[in-house]
């Protein structure tokens, strides 16, 4: 039976073969987007649903000092509803927040945000993409009026130049990484901008290695050079954009000489990269967390957007602006309104027309004030008193872990709904066991906007239930007490039908029947519509239909190295693991990569007397973790790199909670640290 891989945003179609309730083999389906190919996670890492750490029964406790008590679903849901209502009556909707997850289905995210908005009256709704691509979402929305990949994955085969920035594609989106590398073998050029020597850098035609956190300067310098050399697309800029003059004037300080001094990249290389990007018609930009997870994440993505507009790359085949989305359903979680300021379909909660649409559909009046973003909700504890977490593990994923733990300690009421016990479960008052992707129906939307089916292949273990069922049942209790309407959908397809009615311009043409064969991309307004591949061919989604240039300026990271903390820590992922590690470390993948290895440049290692494989401690102003040193020139001198998958040595104990002013994403990619030898 075919379903969708639950790891990254590529959305590979997988065919797990089961024998006696165990996965014996996983094959890639011979359809888009992966055409049979898979990576190690999809091929060998789908066995986490069989982990001993599965949450099997609903559990409740009055306070964190007590042990959990196994209870019936009735009791758990009644209790959870009563507690939420208590907070609502005492402190109003501002004291409640609901976090759906980019790992759950579209139907489940839709229902969770509907519960928050239509029943609890709060717009404190957010999900984990706050921590990954919120900077991209902000920059793309401001400039283009849309926040997704502009081009489909298939366009890789039509692209003549790839500009890959801050994306370790071969490890984080391996199937796309392999496609790009293959296209390069066919003759396309690959420009890679990354401080680390990744698999992409290895395959690159030209590799630029800027100092961490200086990409913005680099892009602005490239733009200035392209303007000077007259390599820009004057007609495109005139016809399709606005704000050019003001932006052009803002580029004055960004000379190649300054760029070389600041980024550490030779100016000839910057000029060559600019020339190649500007003069290749089918040039596509791809990026990920390396750009976004900075205090100037939004500004940096904006600088890249400006560069693409200057050279006329958006709205054309084989080109475009392509943020590689992380979680399997990050795109869908945003599309479904899992965000504080928008309803499903990115319709603003502050907009009266949008509000009327959803008020009519849900039969309630709605709160016009945008809610707090995830990072802000945690900061607002204990003003925020109750949190309904679905498939999220903030203790592992949020920055500055000790601070976050103290916040959760102070939180009066926490519902954790998840499939596996994780680092956040010990802070819960109510634990609701959910069904994994193998055990339920629904849809995920992949990185290039393709809505694809998730299919139930197994029964959930114990008393675990699909997230949609749990949210529906909780909603039923809240609705009864509040006297508000709440639809009791019989299953995911019925929820999807409501979504089609909610955002017909986006999803109206996508039916479960159509999805039987293969996924369909939104926007897809009618059933005979094939689904849009390339966005913005004619006009942008802004009121004027034109894309906006927005000037952005370089600022240094929030924390720079000092005598006491002389190195820069960058965090990220490795091929064998996934985010907080809850899934991958409960699967066969754990055997291949069992413990934290921190990349240390040979020069730093020599200076500090650290040998390859030696145990060390990484220390920041916020805490310390134990790791094994991997001495390698993958990381540049002065920079250490730590994956954040390891709960026993959490990189996020070290990171800082300095936030981007617009997207509120934390600066995961730059923290000042020192290394200490362990004997």
């Amino acid at each position: 039976m075919r379903t969708t891989c639950p790891y990254c945003g590529v959305g590979c179609q997988v065919e797990p073969r089961l024998r006696e309730g165990r996965i014996v083999e996983v094959r890639g389906a011979e359809i888009p987007p992966n055409h049979g190919a898979l990576c190690v996670k999809g091929r060998f890492g789908l066995d986490f649903p069989f982990s001993k750490k599965r949450l099997l029964y609903p559990m409740v406790r009055e306070s964190r000092q007590e042990p959990f008590r196994r209870v019936s679903w009735e009791e758990a849901l009644d209790h959870a509803a009563r507690k939420l209502l208590e907070v609502l009556q005492r402190k109003g909707p501002k004291a409640l927040a609901v976090f759906p997850s980019a790992k759950t289905t579209n139907e489940e995210v839709y229902l969770a945000q509907k519960l928050a908005r239509a029943l609890l009256g709060t717009n404190h709704v957010d999900h984990c993409s706050r921590l990954c691509h919120s900077s991209s979402t902000a920059a793309l929305s401001r400039s283009l009026g849309g926040a997704s990949m502009t081009n489909p994955i298939e366009d890789i085969w039509k692209t003549d130049l790839f500009l890959v920035v801050g994306s370790n594609t071969t490890e984080t989106h391996p199937v796309i990484g392999a496609m790009i590398k293959k296209r390069v073998r066919q003759g396309a050029r690959l420009l890679v901008v990354d401080p680390r020597y990744t698999g992409m850098a290895e395959a690159a035609t030209l590799w630029l290695r800027p100092r961490p956190g200086t990409d913005l300067f680099l892009f602005n310098a490239m733009a200035r050079y392209i303007l000077e050399e007259g390599l820009w697309d004057q007609e495109y800029v005139k016809e399709r954009t606005e704000g050019f003059a003001e932006w052009q004037a803002s580029l004055d300080p960004y000379t190649l000489e300054e760029a070389e001094r600041l980024t550490g990249v030779e100016k000839e290389k910057i000029a060559l990269a600019a020339r190649l990007y500007a003069t290749t018609e089918r040039a596509g930009a791809y990026w990920a967390m390396g750009l976004t997870q900075h205090t100037k994440g939004t500004a940096t993505v904006q600088a890249l957007v400006n560069l693409a507009l200057l050279t006329g790359k958006v709205g054309r085949e084989g080109a475009g602006l392509n943020p590689l989305r992380g979680q399997n359903n990050v795109q869908g979680a945003g599309d479904m309104g899992g965000l504080p300021d928008v309803f499903p379909g990115y319709l603003k909660v502050s907009d009266v027309t949008a509000r009327r649409r959803f008020e009519a559909l849900w039969g309630v009046s709605l709160n016009p004030e945008p809610g707090l973003r995830m990072t802000e909700v945690f900061a607002a504890i204990p003003e925020v008193e109750a949190l309904y977490l679905i498939g999220e593990d903030p203790v592992t994923s949020e920055p500055y872990q000790d601070h976050l733990k103290a916040k959760l300690e102070a939180l009066p009421f926490l519902i954790v709904q998840d499939i596996l016990e994780n680092e956040t479960t010990p802070f819960a008052h109510v634990v609701l066991p959910a069904a994994s992707f193998l055990e339920k129906d629904g849809t995920f939307t992949n990185t290039d906007r393709r809505v694809q089916r998730v299919r139930k292949i197994l029964d959930p273990p114990g008393e675990a239930r699909p997230d949609w069922w749990i949210t529906r049942e909780l909603g039923k209790r809240l609705a009864q007490a509040l006297g508000r309407p709440w639809t009791l959908h019989p299953g995911p397809e019925a929820i999807w039908e409501e979504i089609r009615r909610a955002v017909p311009e986006m999803m109206g043409g996508i039916t479960y029947r159509r999805l039987e064969e293969q996924g369909v991309r939104w926007p897809c307004p009618q059933e005979d519509h094939p689904g849009e591949a390339v966005l913005f061919r004619q006009r942008f989604n802004t009121p004027s239909g034109k894309a906006r240039f927005i000037p952005v300026h370089f600022t240094p990271p929030a924390e720079t190295p000092s005598e006491e903390y002389p190195l820069v820590l960058s965090t990220g992922r490795v091929l064998y693991h996934w985010h907080g590690g809850t899934l991958s470390r409960n699967s066969r993948l754990q055997e291949a990569y069992p413990e934290l290895k921190v990349e240390v440049n040979p020069k730093d290692a020599q200076r500090l007397g650290i040998g390859d494989g030696e145990p060390i401690q990484v220390v920041s102003r916020r805490g310390r973790i134990r790791a094994r040193a991997w001495v390698t020139d993958r990381t540049p001198e002065g920079v250490v790199y730590a994956p954040f998958h390891f709960a026993e040595a959490p990189a996020n104990r070290l990171t800082q909670d300095a936030l981007d002013p617009i997207s509120r994403i934390p600066e995961y990619k730059v923290a000042a640290v020192r290394l200490e030898k362990l004997d």
């Binding site: 083999e25 190919a37 990576c39 060998f44 066969r588 291949a592």
Partner: protein, 200 residues
Amino acid sequence: MRLKVNGQEREAQEGTLLLDLVEVPTLCHHPHTETKGLCRLCLVEVGGRLVPACATEAQEGMEVRTDTEGLRALRRTLLEWLALATDLSQAPSLLELLEAHQGQPQRWGGLGLTRKEREPIRDNPFFLRDYAKCVNCRRCVDACGDGIMGVYALTLEDRGLLAHPTTPLDRPLPETPCVFCGNCIQVCPTGALRPLSMEV
């Protein structure tokens, strides 16, 4: 364009492979790995010459024969030799093909050199390489290299009956650039590469 297959008129688009036009067995050909022209099972006769259908494009006026006595004998022999050299127990489609061609491997006596004695190699947590079952189709090498991944952790060593896929310098997989994507397993037609999870 028009061409003749076994005396019958056929229409074909420019660039069509003969393999897509005619019914012949194939083993090595795989659209994603781009492997072709190795196993010789899909040989057809074009104007008296033998050509692999998986590596030959249809051309105007071509006269293709797929089922001559000579071709049948050739396919039967090829399949018999595969069965002699290799353990086909996990390759049901090849066994079916052998039966359909009334193959009798025994009629050749024993082969001096076979792969059947090779021990499976377990050097990683994910899959094993059981080269006793390998028919040298090369798909795994191509999937790992140019065809899909561009990783080149697998390579073909030696020639003729000694030819076999392995890693560069015969290193254990974890010491190669292998990323354990398992695309080699997916394209392997004989079960020579298979997930460890199947072994329980």
